[in-house]
């Protein structure tokens, strides 16, 4: 009996201890609330935060994107730490998807200091994020410059707080956009050069050029076989296969639906004629053997390494998804001199239609951004640094241009320029890890620097842009009479509606609503069926099977909820 008692009491001690453990945790949770209560004091403190040299706070930052970690003794990170007292250890997605990583964080209940996730709603639901309203108000200049009041409102969650700030898509001063950062049909300049720079307006013309090129040049100079066209369709990146239909129909990148501006109605591009024609063309090319058979089984790493060999003549993708990595490799391998660089083509279903592949104005994606977690060790300092990233030109230059005299030089007129060696260094991955520190998910500007002369980012500096281009690319631009990528794609210049982009709403749908559930199931269905449709021996049968499976997901529920959102802008 006694033994049992001893055991029991021991067990109960353990229970109490573990409950106490839970208790601690629940005691932690109200912390953010008390924080908001004491905002008055913290506000003044925030405004007066001064950094004394030598006092460095190390923050952690998790971003649900794949990326490269920089070395812990990174030189520019050290310079920033010395001056601003902040060093950030960035960690990136490895293997899992964004939502899995976010869900795992929530299940674990411990958060990094900064978070940028594609699944912000999940974090809000879990009370993981610190409300930023008071912090934002403490920096009125930043508040005014970064977003307009309407834009800030878009970030306000149903509970009345703002939890995150989108770091991208803001232009300071005059726009210097030279790249087409969006989606397009890309084609290597060597193909265009070989074909005598033809006008390419439709998919038929696009594949015609590629087919003729590959028939004449089955391999590259070193004997590697050329691949006509590849498709990336791993996980969320399957937009490379999935949404070209909306662009071919001449609509901008609303991502999950088409908005018909004249009637203010939501339309589904998944079932549209343009999408069907697009898939039919892909199917035809697949049957002819011009679509890379590994398209549907390759993962992102395999895709990028495939592009990096310069073998792939064309694909659909967004610039940011491939160009930064692939162009750097082309440069270090000398493949850019062989015409492997990609240029964008503004294709449409029929010739003569307007295209809207390029987004001219700043896209504010309120679905995600950088947030500060409730576990952050020093939210005041963290937020101050976030503001510094946007407001301090010197810091901005350090991040994107590097160290003066090392990574770039300044000419008599005050314009920044780089030598060839500096340019090659900047593109070199080991140099990037040891020296370059962009904190690329912290607030940043495009456009013109506060000195009124230089671009905020080197790739937008006209001299840099021109000098960085290899001869085949320059020839191509000259042949088409353009100087930048946006001119190359030739999209219609117009301002998008205040609802743009609609994907920023659907990204935050959860399966708790019928529309959200439909959205999840539609995604699953498309993941499975789009490749099948492209591979189908009989396209019409494949398409009708796909449509049957698609309609079973009740897309109408989803479209209705999107329409409700659009109606708020009427």
């Amino acid at each position: 009996m006694k033994k049992k008692l001893v055991a029991l009491s021991l067990a109960s001690i353990m229970l109490v201890a573990s409950l106490a453990g839970c208790g601690n945790k629940t005691a932690d949770t109200p912390a953010p609330a008390s924080k908001t209560e004491s905002t008055e004091s913290s506000k003044t403190e925030v405004a007066q935060t001064e950094t004394t040299p030598g006092e460095v706070t190390d923050f952690t930052f998790f971003i649900t994107m794949p990326g490269s970690e920089i070395n812990s003794d990174n030189e520019i990170a050290q310079i920033i730490a010395d001056k601003y007292g902040v060093r950030i250890k960035e960690t990136w997605l490895t293997g899992q998807t964004a939502s899995e990583a976010t869900g795992t964080l929530i299940a674990g209940g411990e958060y990094p200091d900064f978070i940028d996730s594609d699944e912000m709603q999940m974090l809000v639901d879990a009370d993981a994020l610190l409300p930023l309203d008071d912090y934002i108000d403490a920096y009125p200049e930043f508040k005014k410059l970064w977003f307009t009041d309407e834009e800030w409102e878009k970030f306000r969650q149903p509970d009345g707080h703002i939890y995150w700030i989108n770091p991208f898509g803001n232009t300071l001063g005059q726009s210097k956009a030279t790249t087409h950062n969006d989606e397009a049909f890309w084609i290597q300049v060597r193909v265009l050069e070989w074909a005598g720079y033809p006008e390419i307006k439709t998919m038929d013309q696009y594949f015609d050029v590629i087919e003729r090129y590959i028939a004449a040049n089955p391999t590259m100079d070193d004997g590697t076989a050329n691949i006509a066209y590849t498709i990336l369709c791993e996980d969320w990146r399957y937009f490379c296969l999935e949404n070209a239909g909306q662009f071919l129909a001449g609509y901008p990148n609303d991502g999950s639906v088409i908005v018909n501006k004249s009637t203010m109605t939501i339309e589904d591009y998944n079932t549209s004629e343009d999408t069907k024609k697009y898939l039919k063309k892909l199917n035809e090319e697949y049957q002819k053997g011009f679509v890379d058979p590994e398209s549907f089984t390759q993962n992102y790493d395999e895709y990028i390494s495939k592009l990096s060999t310069g073998r792939v003549l064309g694909m659909v993708d967004q610039w940011w998804d491939f160009a930064y990595t692939v162009n750097d490799v082309f440069k270090t391998q000398g493949l850019d001199e062989k015409g492997c660089n990609y240029v964008c083509l503004g294709l449409t279903t029929e010739e003569g239609m307007d295209n809207r592949w390029h987004t001219y104005d700043d896209t504010v994606n309120q679905a995600s951004g950088v947030a500060i977690s409730v576990d952050c060790k020093d939210p005041d300092k963290a937020f101050k640094f976030l503001v510094d990233c946007a407001m301090d030109q010197e810091l901005h230059d350090l991040r994107f241009w590097g160290v003066k005299g090392v990574d770039y030089d300044v000419d008599d007129q005050g314009l920044y320029y780089r030598t060839d060696e500096q340019r090659v260094n900047w593109a070199d991955t080991s140099y990037q890890a040891a020296h370059r520190c962009q904190y690329s998910y912290m607030p940043q500007w495009s456009g013109t620097s506060r000195d009124g002369k230089n671009a905020n980012k080197p790739e937008e500096q006209p001299s840099e842009f021109m000098n960085n281009m290899a001869k085949p690319l320059v020839d191509c631009f000259n042949a088409y009479g353009v100087t930048t990528y946006p001119e190359m794609i030739g999209s219609v210049v117009e301002t998008n509606g205040p609802w743009f982009p609609m994907y920023s709403y659907s990204n935050n749908f959860t399966k708790d609503t019928p529309g959200g559930l439909a959205w999840t199931l539609m995604g699953e269905c498309k993941h499975e069926w789009l490749p099948k449709v492209v591979m189908a021996p009989d396209f019409e049968k494949g398409w009708s099977d796909y449509m049957a499976a698609y309609n079973a997901c009740k897309p109408e529920d989803f479209l209705k909820e999107m329409q409700d959102i659009l109606d708020t802008f009427k």
Binding site: S99, F296, T297, T510, E528, L530, A552
Partner: protein, 319 residues
């Protein structure tokens, strides 16, 4: 009389007082069992409280104590909602588990017996060591190797074409019908050597006299395997089989997750992937937990059934 005496003995044991002296005497045992007890409670029983989530509409913000109870709602959604496709996932898990179990067991027994027939240690030892090396590779590496080997320009396609078996490359990961086979093969390649160790040990424990006697009686190699080795490892075989049957629904997560893609999703998703997809990615812990409970219940039922069968046949069993 004898019966009475026996009862008395039992009573004696029952009535044995727990004295401090006794506790002192068993100090070491008590300390050891204390830690095991704590370990068991903390890691096996306390987490079971989380099962409550399956009957709630769980929100991380509200926690287990604050979330709303919804009864069997989650189970209903799981089993009834066709578009969520839980049953195909159960089917995949079950058949992949079965395929893995059968191929792995057969390969391990076969390998152990063949290895045992090699008399020269110089050959036997290196083979054994090499054979279980893959066990120490993580799945991410194994799937990487598989992905490369089975890719369009991989060694398998190259060999198939060289030997004229096909004239066109086979895109192995684009065909649902190959997927289970690939997974079973991966498991075999990785685990055969490791699983064979325990059978090898069982074979070593067989009395050599039996083999000698059989030789004198004129038994050949195959007969010795059939009449001595196989019956000799039967108890081990049964116990392992029972343990593994409980693991049938743990058909794997990493392999299917890492090798799967949109085209083969219909056959590649397992319960574990389902739990990850709905529980973690869709932030519906309740649904994930419900699926997890379902898996546990099935596993326990399977063990009970097969343990019973083993008991009735008089074979080795777990309990």
């Amino acid at each position: 009389m004898a019966k009475e005496k026996k009862n008395k003995n039992v009573d004696e044991i029952k009535d044995r007082k727990i004295t401090w002296k006794e506790i002192k005497r068993q100090k070491a045992l008590l300390i050891i069992s204390f830690f095991m007890l704590v370990y068991g409670i903390v890691f096996y029983y306390l987490p079971l409280a989380g099962w409550l989530m399956a009957f709630q509409k769980y929100k991380p913000k509200l926690g287990i104590f604050g979330s709303k109870f919804v009864g069997l709602e989650n189970f209903k959604f799981l089993f009834m909602n066709k578009s969520v496709a839980f049953w195909p996932v159960v089917r995949n898990t079950f058949f992949m588990g079965l395929l893995n179990l059968v191929t792995q067991t057969v390969m391990a027994v076969l390998f152990a017996i063949l290895l045992n027939e090699i008399k020269a240690n110089v050959i036997k030892k290196p083979i054994q060591t090499i054979s279980y090396l893959p066990h120490f590779l993580s799945w991410i590496i194994v799937t990487g190797i598989l992905h490369d080997a089975l890719s369009n320009s991989g060694i398998v396609n190259e060999l198939l074409i060289k030997f004229g078996i096909t004239d066109r490359v086979i895109d192995f990961f684009a065909h649902p019908e190959y997927f289970w086979g690939i997974v079973a093969f991966a498991h075999c390649w990785k685990e055969t050597g490791w699983n064979a160790i325990i059978y090898l040990a069982a074979i070593t424990a067989i009395d050599p006299c039996l083999y000698e006697a059989a030789s004198i009686d004129g038994a050949g190699r195959l007969q010795k395997i059939k009449y001595i080795t196989l019956p000799g490892i039967k108890p081990t075989f049964m116990i392992l089989l029972l343990i593994n049957i409980g693991n049938l629904l743990n058909a794997g997560f990493e392999v299917q997750y890492l090798l799967g893609n949109g085209l083969v999703k219909k056959v590649s998703d397992t319960i574990d992937i389902f739990v990850l997809k709905w529980g973690i990615s869709q932030n519906d812990f309740s649904l994930g937990t419900a699926a997890g409970i379902f898996k546990s219940v099935i596993s326990i039922t399977l063990i009970l059934i097969f343990n019973n069968i083993a008991k009735r046949n008089g074979d080795e069993r777990l309990f």
